[in-house]
């Protein structure tokens, strides 16, 4: 149970960062923190106390394995997260070249 609560706190830390930070890079980092809290939750969902790695050995019948599917999901989701972070960073760098700042208070052409 403690692990779930810690994961949830990590999620809230990320959300707090996205809402309060004013720096483009820090917003991207906060989004990554949120992503990873959810990845942790997915791994926790598949975890079984005392289970071993899900590599089936026919000689040892009756062994307890952890659920492999959430692990596969997390691997895929990490790749997607990488693509998103790379996109965010690319745009942030381009924005820095245009505005010479990372501060979102000074980047506000779009309104209405």
């Amino acid at each position: 149970m403690t692990a779930y609560i810690l994961t949830f706190i990590l999620f809230l830390v990320g959300l707090y960062g996205v809402i309060t930070r004013r720096n483009l890079i820090k917003i991207a980092i906060s989004l990554s923190i949120m992503e990873f809290s959810i990845f942790l939750l997915l791994v926790l969902i598949g975890f079984i106390d005392g289970g071993s790695a899900p590599i089936v050995d026919p000689e040892k019948a009756g062994t307890l394995y952890v659920d492999p599917l959430p692990q596969a999901m997390v691997l895929t989701a990490i790749v997607i997260g990488l693509a998103t972070t790379a996109m965010l960073m690319a745009i942030a760098i381009r924005l820095y070249r245009k505005y010479k700042t990372f501060d979102i208070r000074e980047i506000k052409n779009l309104r209405g």
Binding site: M34, L41, D67, P70, A77, I91, Y99, N109
Partner: protein
């Protein structure tokens, strides 16, 4: 045809790869190869559409079908609703791409544009075909990540800012969706939509499920830009290159937003009355707020973007009404009518909003401004743009005999039959407001006195752009034929049946 289904995803993916590799060696390779691929996809979609029957066609990836009665592989499912979406995606995709052939000459790095365009199509085709929750998430990310890049394609100040805003909200939405998928897996130990449906049967009021449903509504609501979640849409859709705006407004917010919401809530959850009311309220809010915000815009593409929010509101409201009626189980006839109106309006909106964004692109191409106050008197200089945009404007604001009139009429009749008198009145009022801001667009862009002498030298846009606009304008007119029950039975009926007989989907797939 079973074997064609994976090609809808594989073909554009391969095309994106080939455009990047071969485009470097063969000059102008991307300019004829990508339209060809999109044309093949469109032909395949229409072929599947003519073949589709009542029952969903299932393709199991890698041949992993069932193990002891439990579906273990990844399923691609093609049924009446998804094949309709496939037709819209590939049709608007092909037309927008054909339009880009002239339009994108003003940009550098055209090759990247065509590759990203193929990826966005692959992602959306995957989303509508997927029968598996996590697979759906992956395809959704493929299409939205390429749309982030395409929104920023102009790499100007506004484009980059809009793209960053879009990305932050997009990532937030994806995380909410991933969390919901994880929680569904926790509850049911399966990701197959049909299997989840059979396992969840009877748990409509379970607080854990309500939490998942709220997560999904906020996640996909963000993707679909329903009103409290709409902040990114006007920026992103107005900053993108015009054919991409047509894709984003015309199909992306439907394929990854509305379609998934409707699919999950009609075919996976047994929805409760409260969720149905939330849908109706959100739909009504975006319908009214979108129209009011559009009224005060001077930037043409921002006006169109806000109008998208308003029109999507109509669709969500009609689905919400149907859900309210179905969950109370009193008035089945009105529910069927509401779903018909919603699906019909979904198709229509893709066509006329796509056309309007292409018109806006044509004006921007010639005038290099999007400000309505700097236009005027263009009806003689650009006759094709002017007449097609007039048709699109009339059809979006619901003037007979164009398609928008009939779909709105069906929604309003459904509202009256279901005793939602307030919603029916609001739908009519919003329709009048819509007419108001499209008259503003027409008057300022085409019929006012020209502001400057220079405007007199403006010529009509090149062939590929004017041809795409003409095709969509003809479709605006032709789709009004769907109002006849005989034709509507052929075209819209399969999609509506999938949604109304909500158990059939899971029964056919799991075989239980």
């Amino acid at each position: 045809m079973n074997a064609l289904i994976p090609l809808f995803v594989a073909l554009p993916l391969i095309a994106a790869f080939l455009v990047m590799i071969l485009g470097k060696l063969v000059s102008k390779f991307h300019r004829f190869f990508t339209p060809l691929v999109l044309l093949i996809l469109l032909a395949m979609a229409i072929y599947e559409f003519s073949m589709a029957g009542m029952a969903p066609i299932i393709y199991t990836m890698g041949g992993w079908s069932t193990l002891g009665g439990i579906p273990v592989g990844i399923y691609l499912v093609l049924d009446g609703f998804s094949v309709l979406m496939l037709c819209i995606i590939n049709l608007v995709g092909f037309i927008a791409l054909f339009y880009s052939l002239s339009y994108m000459k003003q940009y550098t790095a055209e090759r990247n544009y065509y590759a990203l365009f193929c990826l966005i199509i692959a992602g959306m085709n995957g989303v509508v075909l997927s029968g598996d929750l996590f697979n759906l998430f992956v395809f959704m990310e493929v299409s939205v990540i390429s749309s982030y890049a395409l929104v920023a394609f102009g790499v100007g100040k506004t484009e980059l800012e809009a793209s960053f805003k879009y990305q932050v909200l997009g990532v937030l939405a994806s995380m909410l969706i991933l969390l919901a998928i994880g929680l569904i897996y926790w509850q049911t130990k399966t990701l197959n939509i049909a299997d989840v449906k059979t396992l969840l049967k009877g748990g409509a009021g379970d607080p854990f499920l309500v939490f998942i449903q709220v997560l999904l509504i906020s996640g996909f609501g963000l993707k679909a830009a329903i009103v409290p979640f709409h902040a990114w849409l006007p920026d992103a859709h107005s900053s993108a290159p015009s054919p991409i705006s047509a894709m984003l407004s015309g199909v992306l917010i439907k394929a990854v937003g509305i379609y998934v919401l409707i699919r999950l809530f009609f075919n996976m959850f047994a929805f409760s009355h409260e969720i149905a009311v939330i849908f109706t309220v959100l739909g009504t809010l975006s319908m009214v707020a979108g129209a009011l915000l559009a009224l005060m815009q001077w930037d043409l593409k921002r006006l169109l973007a806000y109008s998208s929010i308003s029109q999507i509101g109509y669709v969500v409201m009609a689905f919400g009404m149907a859900m309210v009626l179905l969950s109370s189980g009193t008035n089945q006839g009105a529910a069927v009518l509401a779903v018909t109106g919603a699906v019909y309006h979904l198709v229509n909106h893709a066509v006329f909003k796509g056309l309007l964004f292409l018109n806006a692109g044509a004006l921007e191409h010639r005038l290099e401004t999007r400000d309505l106050r700097k236009m005027g008197g263009l009806s003689t200089a650009m006759p094709i743009t002017s007449s097609t945009s007039l048709m699109a404007s009339m059809s979006i604001s619901g003037i007979p005999p164009f398609n928008g009139f009939f779909s709105k009429l069906i929604i309003i009749i459904a509202a009256i039959q279901g005793h939602f008198y307030l919603l029916a009145t609001l739908a009519i009022v919003v329709s009048i407001i819509t007419l108001g801001y499209f008259l503003k667009f027409q008057r300022y862009a085409f019929f006012n006195k020209p502001l400057e002498k220079a405007l007199q030298k403006i010529r009509e846009v090149p062939f590929s752009m004017s041809f795409s606009m003409l095709v969509l304008a003809v479709l605006c007119f032709a789709l009004s034929l769907l109002a006849f029950p005989a034709i509507s039975n052929e075209v819209l009926r399969p999609a509506i049946d999938v949604l109304m007989q909500s158990d059939l989907y899971s029964i056919t797939i799991t075989g239980l």
